[in-house]
Amino acid sequence: METEVKEAQGKIISAENPDIVAPADWQPVIMGILCNWCSYAGSDLTGTSRIQYPPNIRIIRVPCSSRVDPWFIIKSLQTTADGVLISGCHPGDCHYISGNYFARRRFLVTKKLLNFVGYHENRVQFSWVSAAEGPKFAKVVAKVTEDIKKLGPLHRYKKENF
């Protein structure tokens, strides 16, 4: 990847937009929104199993992935986050019977729409992680972090510059 070359020169250059350059020690912030019954429990298992993963994710607990309104994602991207990871129960395993099926539809459309208006598709990612999948959670976080590091910091539509 191009990114790796540039990193050697002490800079991260965004794969999304070459104009965005960040110092090599730049760390993205990833907003993780996890459902209580599967993914949050899974992430707890990652902890109890002492599986190590990158420290960039900040986790918000919600009862079900269906609680996630698309504007959580937009709000995150506009304020604090460089990327968003939303995780829920595997299809069919939803603690609330059908919540993740409704959520899945919304996520697909939201992801495509965000991509359409100019967010790289890797900025917003989704995963199914069950309560037993501690190692998977670590893998997912590592992948998402890696993806977003390549994209560099998110500047568009940021509200922090008052």
Binding site: T79, K159, E160, F162
Partner: protein, 347 residues
């Protein structure tokens, strides 16, 4: 009022514009998404100020932006500190080209409300530092009725420089105010107009005036509307309004705004942004009382404010007859129609 006139031709006018663009921060109608709006230009090729162009938004946003920061604040454990915003109200001077006279008149009307009692300094600064170069329309647009209102379109002093494409093929550049005169004098176009220029201008105006389809008797309308507060006709004419507020946002003279705070963590900004009296929440009070809860009441406020109240208070009609609202209205309501219809009912 200055009556300094120079005459030139097409090429001369181009040169005049180019010189301005070279010297000043210049704005002109620029095309975007199939419509025109005033945007900063750095090259004459980006715009076409020769003939007046119907812009969607009026000149208003250049003086009274759709959103402006009023102040910033920062909270910490010791308390709250306020600070000025970094927004620059306009330091140097700028020139706006290709303005229609109705838009310019809009500013003149706005001056009244901004300069009574408390003076809005940001607005004031922008006004003082701007030179408005208007191009007189050759003929009326479909929705125009500026000549029917309470101001003298022919000799309007709302703009600083007027450019007229004379019927004789010459182009006249007329300095209307001192600011305008100075602008012309600083340019290289210096051929004074011939004696016939004034006649030529008035001939042009007559032709322009004759092209209007929409005419009303302003004095009569104004007088009638004053007595029509309880007219049921307001309900009829507003029935197909969808309360979308477009008219107010694009109106050159609508000046209502709201104040809102936005805060992220401990810092925040207070904004002032456009609002509209057609909005149902506009007058809704915290206790739930709303003096204008239904559509027709809001329409009544809008029409009467435009044609009666403002005149009563500030001596100018709040509608300048530009027709922007009728063009942008999704359901094609025209305020000309509305006031005409309401006032006719009385006869």
């Amino acid at each position: 009022m200055s009556v300094f006139i120079v005459e030139t031709d097409k090429a001369g006018l181009q040169k005049f514009y180019e010189e301005i663009i070279g010297k000043f921060e210049t704005y002109a109608p620029v095309e975007k998404f199939d419509k025109y709006d005033y945007k900063k230009v750095s090259n004459l090729s980006e715009c076409n100020p020769d003939s007046p162009i119907e812009t969607t938004m009026s000149l208003k946003p250049l003086f009274f932006p759709k959103t402006a920061k009023i102040m910033k604040f920062q909270e910490d454990s010791s308390g709250t500190t306020l600070s000025e915003t970094d927004e620059d109200p306009l330091a140097g001077s700028r020139v706006i080209l290709g303005v229609k006279h109705c838009d310019a008149r809009g500013l003149q009307v706005l001056d009244q409300v901004y300069n009574w009692d408390y003076i809005d300094t940001d607005y004031q600064k922008r006004r003082i530092n701007t030179v408005i170069v208007s191009t007189r329309c050759d003929k009326a647009g479909n929705q125009c009725f500026c000549t029917s209102l309470d101001y003298d379109v022919e000799n309007s002093d709302a703009h600083d420089v007027r450019i007229v494409n004379g019927l004789d093929g010459k182009i006249y550049i007329q300095g209307v105010t001192e600011k305008g005169e100075k602008l012309i004098k600083s340019s290289s176009i210096q051929q004074p107009a011939s004696d016939g220029a004034k006649d030529e201008l008035s001939k042009h105006y007559k032709a322009f005036d004759a092209s209007f389809r929409l005419k009303m008797n302003y004095t009569e309308v104004n007088a009638k509307l004053q007595k029509l507060f309880d007219s049921p006709e307001f309900e009829t004419v507003s029935s197909n309004c969808i309360s979308c507020n477009t008219c107010a946002f694009i109106c050159p003279t609508c000046h209502c705004f709201k104040i809102s705070d936005e805060k992220i963590k401990d810092t925040g900004v207070r904004y002032k942004s456009y609002d509209s009296c057609n909005n149902g929440y506009f007058t809704l009070m915290a206790g739930g009382h709303n003096p204008r809860p239904v559509k027709y009441r809001r329409w009544r406020q809008r029409s009467l404010h435009k044609f009666v109240y403002y005149k009563e208070r500030f001596g100018m009609n709040l509608c300048v007859g530009c027709g922007h609202c009728a063009i942008s209205c999704p359901v094609n309501i025209s305020i000309f129609d509305v006031v005409n219809q309401v006032s006719k009912i009385m006869q």
